[in-house]
Point group: C2
Chain length 428, copies 2
């Protein structure tokens, strides 16, 4: 028989899902709220943006994940507030009363002090973002094919990626593979392989969380694929079709922003205690001071390790926090008055892939680069992806892509529904 | 060495593609213009709308289809006009001069005398349409799950499909399978299997182009799946969330319009001679009277068979016309002054599937219904779909779906890009 406590988890990202899974298996009544009807496997989002995978291949309906646990409810709704003392989670479609709440609202793209840049530099956080980036990259090539002005054509064939973290590096590698290999032989007036791909990193090296020799190795891989890697190159200005690094201006048809994330501003908006970076201050057990029934996990939580360093905003940390919060709730429900255990983060390592047979990995004290790291990357991502259906599709896409050098999802979708007047030229 | 004539084909639907293929193989210089960068396999569009297939699985990049024919150019652009005497095709991004032009601009949804209905009754002609229908159907169920008002809940759980042709029938069957099987066990407060599905047909039977006994059989199949089939029920009025058949009003969260198509209005707009239905009048060789270098094919052309009956607006007719027009051009290029052959339509039959093991088929004088027709349907659609990649994916999706009763692409995409303020509740 399921437990009687009302547990609510807000956010179906890695953290929220991990917490729900623990509680579901323990027969606890859980409501998992998310504004989307699916869990998004974000580590592969850049592959949707570069036409390697279909959007639906990395999005798994939340209902379907928990269909065998009748005591778990998936609710698609938007979180708009929390009444901390009344223990109510406010949704745009009503409210939910809780005995325990786990807030796992994640992060949003950080344009630092330039929110106005969002209009020109596309972020990569949602499926809609990825579909839009895919359309923009492919459309720029389509336009370049018939652009007669050499300067305009060169601009259309320039893609600037801001940010040398894992997303920026993986994105740059995938764009290189798309333009260098997948489109070979398909254009008549341009050579997509000559697309200029610039990766801008403000700091002294890419992948700064990895050891310096792996950063160098990844940079070497990118350069082999023809990516221009520019270190110590902070963006100073950008607008429609151009970006500036100090005095230097680059005309670019596509500008992608992967320079950072920040905690979902809802933490602060809900009146929770936050650090200057917007992450919510939590006790060692991940609960909010003064509210033992409210946990904050994942990218939204400011958790420090023994040395006082903030735990990074990565999926494994969110998963571990989700499991910790869920186990704390379970312990409390099973035997009252237990002493809560502090959360300890176990760094399982970092993997980043650049392209075919090129990846870097640091797992414990093992470091590797190249083919082995690449196989490891494939393997880890495939097993972490939820569901047989999605695993099988992604494995097929990767195998096909590996054998043929092609990419299967090269479709330009019109984001805003076209009016009928636009339908010229489209046959039945 | 490729030929020197400039041949332009406007529209990459079935007709345009068939014409291009013939000319490509004959080493003719062809430019294929379409507003999309892909050929859409429309017969399976309803499966995207009902979450059985991903959008990219039925959309094949035009460039990729003809990549091995360097003398064929794919141009993504919108046709805006034709200068018949100057032999120029006007595009939104310039113009193209031609020696031969094949117009294959297809059809658009026909709301008959009620263009205002378009806002409330969704059509199914483009990938964007299909993605929107999928989101609407899934969203209605999500809303119904938490709707406390019984009447509102019942309305959300009502889907009305207008039009008992092949698209309406296949759509109704697929919605039934989605709600009756694929979502089993996933909701906590509603039973999606009790979704009311109403198929409205104005005439006396569904699938009117098939023999009456196959119409009855298809209706029986639909009823087995719990679809309410209403014959002789022309829509008299509709609006946001409701539809009327005479005095009877049905409150419905989702209204889909598959009641008919009409020729792309561009035929008339370009000043071509048209029938009252908008289809362009053509000579027996498919050229426009007075313009031997201009061919009109597919849903846009008004072609009559020997008995004077208009040839139906279906894919096989478009393909045959495309091939005929292409061969006529080839003959003319190879030996001048040939007598042009008249087009003859060969009716290859009709297939429509209702659901698992339920289909109807008429091929020549062979008629069948049930399991054999269903296998035939699967086989024909799979071989007609272009490309190994897409065939393999669709085969996998169908097999998986057959074995598990599930549907793999149940993702609600937000059509208009959400603002950042909407991102509450979406974890990283």
């Amino acid at each position: 028989m399921p437990g009687e406590a009302r547990i609510i988890i807000a956010g179906a990202g890695f953290g929220g899902l991990a917490a729900t899974r623990i509680l579901a298996r323990a027969h606890q009544k859980v409501t998992l709220v998310d504004q989307a009807n699916y869990h998004l496997f974000q580590p592969l989002l850049y592959q949707v943006a570069t036409a390697g995978l279909a959007a639906t291949e990395i999005a798994i309906p939340v209902r379907s994940i928990f269909r065998r646990y009748p005591w778990v409810e998936a609710r698609m709704d938007t979180v708009v507030g929390v009444e901390l003392d009344a223990k109510r989670l406010l949704l745009s479609g009503g409210y939910l009363e809780f005995d325990f709440l786990i807030l796992a609202l994640g992060a949003v793209t950080n344009y630092f002090d330039h929110p106005e840049w969002e209009a020109y530099a596309l972020s990569l956080k949602s499926l809609e973002d990825a579909i839009e980036i895919r359309s923009r990259i492919l459309s720029a090539l389509e336009k370049a094919e018939y652009e007669k002005d050499a300067a305009k054509r060169a601009a259309l064939l320039t893609i600037v990626i801001v940010g040398g973290g894992a997303t920026g590096v993986e994105m740059a590698g995938a764009v290189a593979e798309l333009t260098r290999h997948a489109l070979r032989g398909e254009f008549r007036h341009i050579d997509p392989a000559r697309t200029r791909i610039v990766l801008l990193e403000a700091g002294p090296r890419i992948l700064p969380t990895l050891p310096p020799d792996l950063s160098s190795k990844a940079q070497e891989f990118l350069q082999q694929l023809g990516v221009e890697v520019r270190l110590r190159s902070p963006v100073t200005a950008l607008g429609e079709g151009w970006i500036e690094i100090g005095a230097q201006r680059i005309a670019a048809g596509t500008i992608l922003w992967t320079a950072g994330v920040k905690a979902n501003p809802l933490g602060k908006a809900f009146g929770l205690p936050v650090e200057p970076n917007g992450r919510v201050l939590v006790n060692p057990d991940l609960s909010v001071p003064g509210y033992p029934y409210l946990f904050v996990i994942g990218d939204l939580a400011a958790v420090r390790d023994a040395s006082g360093k903030l735990i990074p905003q990565v999926a494994p940390a969110a998963i571990q926090m989700g499991e910790h919060a869920a186990r704390t709730i379970l312990a409390e429900l099973e035997e009252k008055n237990t002493l809560r255990k502090p959360f300890r983060y176990i760094d399982k390592g970092t993997l980043a892939t650049v392209g075919r047979s090129m990846a870097v990995a640091k797992i414990g004290w093992i470091q590797c680069a190249g083919w082995i790291a690449w196989i490891l990357w494939l393997f880890v991502h495939l097993i972490k992806l939820i569901g047989f259906h999605n695993k099988a599709l992604v494995l097929f896409e990767w195998t096909w892509s590996y054998l043929t050098f092609r990419k299967g999802a090269r479709v330009i979708l019109r984001y805003h529904r076209p009016s009928r007047a636009d339908s010229a030229g489209k046959a039945s």
